[in-house]
Amino acid sequence: MKIVVVGCGKIGAKVVASLVEEGHDVVAVDNNPALLDSITNIYDVMTVCGSGTDCETLQEAGVQSAQLVIAVTASDEFNMLCCYISRRMGAKHSIARIRKPEYNPESLAFLKQQLDLSLIINPEMYAAREMYNILKIPSAVKIESFSGRNFEIIEIVINEGSPLIDLKLMDIRNKFKEKFLVSVVKRGDDVYIPDGNFVLRQGDKIGLTGEASEIIKLMRTIGLERKQARNIMLLGGSRIAYYLAVKLIGSGHRVKIVENDPARCDELSELLPRAVIINGDGAQQEILEEEGLGTTDAFVALTGMDEENILISIFASGKHVPKVIAKVNRSELAAMANNLGIDTVISPKTIIADKVVQYARALENSLGSSVETLYKIMDDKAEVLEFNVKADFRAVNIPLKDLKMKANVLLVGIIRNRNSILPTGNDYIAEGDRVIVASKNRLNDLSDILR
């Protein structure tokens, strides 16, 4: 599929990388030749140097025949204009990054309709949402939800003394009364889609799937339920901090934001009257300790500097803060941060890349049983996807035990009429179901799970 990406900054480069990996024909547009140079050196893409709102540049990039145009430059208005022009020139679909908080949901809906945008992406908003989910269940490394938030996948690490150690997966099903599945396991650098004979070990990172309420019950049973974080300290008053603070305050948390820039502090205090805004340099340990780092339930490092976020998060973990989250944009650094012992690292650009890939896959395959939701988990080494089952799916109404499924693919849930089913051999897939699948391979269509 032909895709034009306008803007090759941090997010743009990641989006380009993910789309190339998916095998799309990608044209990257930017007005900085040095950026384009570095991109052509690494990825198999064509580049066009010029402004994304210049018709000639867009024509050279071939938007008139493109299936999808993605505008992810630093300016919201530029992105909107770029998408609008591209659609007028003949692009089939467009995605714009719009992230200013001034654009509230109503005006966004209006813009989306008027500008014919297929999707609006707001990296900071998505990142804040993900952080918020994790703060609700602090023992999780990552949480993603499917199909109206009823069904979740939650990543946890099996620590010393966990009742799950040395158990076969089929025994786990009998031992616990909660309904859940272990769908993905990461051991060392390898990722497995486990079967019933798989034995869990200490240090494994596992992905649990099930209904949200069942998962919470399970966390209690296996002793992973931590006290919900009440006092939360945010370092850096960025857009993510704002979105996150709004959500947290809304659900009754106490939020403290440490920000270096006095002007930004003034703004934040106006926007968030119920948060405590501290003007000070978060890199100074004294200020953090004075502001109660030792007593806070969770600490989120959100400054613009990846390195600073990592270092201060390590410091906070050293002060026994129960839950530490670091925002790290560069994926190389994210892996390093994991090695340094920060369990939850969130990268807005990875989230956006996932969204775009999900959208592109659904587009590519809008006829069959298409991808509704896609999450890359375990450092992008596996995927969990939600499919909408259409009538033409060839294994409809056949018991699962009679289906020949591919290796490294696991059916983890079927959602029928808002009820979720943990599939066993006697269950079947029906038309109109939503099916959730964990896989190590790239899946385009639900039929791809069959051999």
Partner: protein, 491 residues
């Protein structure tokens, strides 16, 4: 630290491809019942296939990432080995008994130079003659680009290889995927070749001659199969070759734009316009200059255009012995040797676009002397050429002259006059083929000693690959830096 396994792997693929390509001359040898050539080609195919497959099968790279330096090294070493193995049929069959000469002939073929050490071409077997011209075709667009077009894509970083193998200061893609770009280029190349073959056949040229000349023109090579090159063919056939020499010295991207029906950028392409103007003016001067010799306007025009395009496209065919022309005409031809064709074509030389960038830069710099505070950009086709490209072109220009003068100095040990040696050096570096005096169109390089033959062989490779790949591959620093893992022992 070089990723040596990746380089070896690419070399292996290249050898496998060479063994496949050698099947074509083998078939030709079968058709003409030339058993000596059949043996020579079969033996070479066996050697290259075995070595190639062994390398491809047993070399497993740990790491598929390659950087610019590996790209350069892959291209340089591929071309060296391609030529060393490609020379085997000449050597094994005994048609060129001296291996150094055989390598010279092969390199001259792959680099699309067309300089020959053969004294009596008409005695060669059909298989060998076909292989000589086929090397032009393979070398014209590049053997590694051919691998990209047909082999499954391995890593996104192949751009380094394409950049190192294709000629011109800036190499862009036509479509997002490099594999598709390589395919499109080869399809255009193949289509134009077939078109020329058909045009020659229609003019009454025998099939074998048509194939050989079409392949030779396509690569802008210039190996003929007659002692007087194209002199003995009729005027129609000479005009066909003139037209195709022109077409093959243009940027192939323009043909792709024509396919996409984007006519205006093609017509307005300044490199095309300047190149065409240069060809027309040069041919005009020569026509006037040689009119007294032929006393016939059509002959004068035809010979002038033929020689001008043959030299500016760096093909090196000839319709007459231009060695006997007046000095002015020879001087014009000599200057054309330096310019060469357009970037993105199969021609050699400096390339028109580089000359344009250089002259515009000079103009800007002179303006800067007059108005020291002035700020102005160098523009080509309405687009600003960035400073990196300009300094790259200037540095290349300097290196290019060092290369020519170095070659000239080294081969001056030979007992020939200055005209011979200088034109030989210029002709080989620019991949033209013939020079003047002893190495003129009716002469050859057979009188050079082995030492000079080797120097000229290397010069041709340097010229075809535009200096940098070979220069970097020859620098010990790129090979003998040890990785930290080796230094401190493997974990």
């Amino acid at each position: 630290m070089m990723n040596r396994r990746m380089i070896l792997k690419r070399l292996g693929q290249m050898l496998v491809l060479e063994s496949v390509l050698l099947i074509f001359p083998l078939i030709v040898s079968f058709i003409y019942w030339e058993w000596n050539s059949v043996t020579a080609f079969s033996a070479t195919i066996a050697i290259t296939a075995v070595l190639g497959f062994l390398t491809v099968i047993f070399i497993k790279p740990h790491d598929k990432v390659i950087y610019a330096r590996e790209g350069f090294a892959i291209v340089a070493s591929s071309w060296v080995f391609l030529s060393l193995f490609g020379a085997l049929p000449f050597f094994i069959s005994g048609e060129i008994p001296n291996y150094v000469d055989a390598v010279f002939e092969t390199v001259s073929g792959f680099t699309t130079t067309g300089a020959t050490i053969l004294t009596d071409i008409e005695k060669m077997s059909h298989g060998m003659l076909f292989w000589r011209s086929f090397t032009h075709w393979i070398g014209g667009m590049g053997v590694l680009v051919l691998i990209m077009a047909i082999a499954p894509a391995e890593s996104g970083r192949s751009m380094h290889i394409m950049r190192a193998e294709m000629a011109g200061p800036v190499i862009g893609k036509l479509v997002p995927k490099i594999k598709d770009t390589a395919k499109i280029l080869y399809i255009i190349y193949l289509a134009l070749t077939v078109l020329e073959f058909a045009a020659l056949l229609l003019g009454g040229m025998p099939i074998f001659d048509s194939i050989v000349h079409a392949l030779g023109t396509a690569g802008t090579g210039g190996f003929g199969i007659k002692a007087d090159s194209l002199g003995s063919y009729n005027p129609y056939l000479q005009w066909v070759v003139i037209v195709f020499m022109y077409l093959f010295s243009l940027n192939f991207n323009l043909y792709y734009m024509l396919i996409l029906k984007k006519f205006i950028p093609v017509i307005k392409n300044s490199e095309l316009l300047v190149y065409s103007a240069m060809v027309a003016i040069s041919a005009g001067i020569i026509t006037l200059n040689i009119y007294p010799i032929y006393n016939n306007l059509h002959d004068s025009i035809r010979h002038a255009f033929f020689q001008v395009l043959s030299i500016s496209s760096t093909s090196g065919f000839s319709s007459v012995d231009f060695n006997t022309w007046p000095f002015l005409s020879k001087a014009v031809l000599f200057v054309l040797m330096f310019v060469g064709g357009c970037a993105g074509s199969t021609a050699g030389g400096l390339k028109m676009i580089r000359v344009m960038i250089l002259s515009k830069t000079v103009k800007r710099d002179i303006g800067h002397l007059l108005h020291p505070r002035s700020v102005s950009a160098v523009k080509v086709d309405g687009k600003t050429v960035d400073q990196n490209t300009i300094s790259g072109v200037s540095a290349y220009f300097a290196l290019y002259f060092f290369l020519i003068f170095g070659t000239f100095l080294l081969i001056s040990v030979e007992p020939f006059d200055m005209e011979t040696n200088l034109s030989a050096a210029v002709s080989c570096v620019n991949n033209v083929g013939p020079g003047f005096a002893v190495v003129g169109p009716m002469g050859g390089y057979s009188d050079y000693s082995d030492f000079s033959t080797i120097i000229l062989t290397v010069a041709m490779l340097f010229g075809r690959l535009e200096i940098y790949p070979l220069l970097l591959a020859l620098s010990p620093r790129s090979w003998f830096t040890r990785s930290n893992r080796r230094k401190f022992g493997k974990k």
